[in-house]
Symmetry: C2
Subunit: 200 residues, 2 copies
DNA sequence: CGCGACGTTGATTTGCCTCAACGATTGTGG
DNA sequence: CCACAATCGTTGAGGCAAATCAACGTCGCG
């Protein structure tokens, strides 16, 4: 029963790389389980991102702040995703991003020292980490592509297609910020689409 | 003298990871030196990116094509950079990007099979590759940030600051495409800035 | 030389923002 | 558990950044 507690994160690793029982124990030793309230900040820009968070349950947003103090959502992380500022975590530089829960969350965190130790103890985790980087890069490149080649409405449709479940969990202002438009304009698009649906 | 031929790419690796003479030989065995004319395509979207290119001399652009057949420059690669579609290369999936020289180029290429072999023979190259991924991710995330939080002119200034040498080497229409604006609007901004300078 | 690609300039249009006012919903302290 | 505040989403008016279209000079190249 106790063994079951870490199931999700271990299964997450096992989906990418094989692990022995001993290695699984090494991982379990180093992870910490956290329950977090809504609107809890896990990282603020200028701090160093000293832990990574695997989400068992809940939703987290990663965002920047521009010169005019406007927030800009970079991505949302939900169940079975990771939330972190990769650059800050790896290079121990001040973070560019803020990380905040937008739902009640249950997460596992791994601190940087323990993470480094894990990579030494279980070299095959390098592969898992490379996959993490790859996936992050791919979605980042896709976003650049979409942002420069699609209009706001097309981007919204893509978002709905790709993350159909997220729309109901995330407030419109956060979705608007993710899409790079104002909340008012998103609202406009939605009503326009509703009217269209009714006609058809 | 012949030994000198591969200097740049080997030095590039040595800047990130230590290598023995034997390992350097293993690398040299697998790389191929190419001279390319201007406007040579190294990769077209839908193909699989089967080689990566290290640039000794010249300039290459990586771009996408949107639904309306408009090109969108994702990034420029010059001396000591790599040109590739990472996702396609790693996962052997159809490329999202086109790769084209915009100057006469001298590059070293490594094919995917030889690349995989190298990573096996020289495990420490995994670290180099992870650094490549990291750097690509960081600049990709920065671009998203800039694109959503800065106006066209601010992005242009950032570009000039970050790549002061590129402006003279790359045509305005390509820079405009990279910045995500029309060539006409870039032209407008430039004359505006020139006038401003004259007044000061 | 002549053609085609490039850069400039101006007129017009458009996608999206900002501001403001108003209901709806959520959160909170009494 | 209610009352009130705060936040959120909607709607509309007006404005601006940047796109589009078109016309023209210029440069490089076959």
């Amino acid at each position: 029963m106790i063994k079951k507690m870490n199931e999700e994160i271990i299964e997450h690793f096992l989906r990418v790389v094989p692990l022995t029982d001993k290695e699984i124990r090494l991982i379990k030793e180093k992870i910490e389980f956290l329950k977090l309230n809504k609107k809890t900040h896990l990282l603020a820009a200028e701090e160093v991102c000293s832990s990574i968070y695997y989400i068992k349950r809940g939703c987290i947003r990663v965002y920047t702040m521009d010169d005019h103090c406007l927030e800009n959502n970079i991505f949302f992380a939900i169940e079975d995703w990771w939330a972190l500022d990769l650059m800050s975590f790896i290079e121990k530089t001040p973070a560019r991003f803020y990380i905040e829960t937008i739902e009640e969350c249950e997460v596992w965190s791994i601190s940087k020292p323990k993470f480094d130790l894990l990579l030494e103890e279980i070299p095959i985790l390098e592969k898992w980490f490379r996959m993490l980087l790859q996936n992050a890069l791919i979605s980042s490149e896709n976003r650049i592509h979409y942002k420069s080649s699609l209009k706001a409405e097309e981007r919204y449709i893509k978002f709905l297609e790709k993350y159909p479940k997220l729309e109901r969990r995330i407030s419109q202002k956060h979705i608007a910020s993710y899409l790079g438009i104002s909340p008012e304009f998103l609202s406009l698009m939605k009503t326009k689409r509703l009217r269209k649906e009714k006609i058809e």
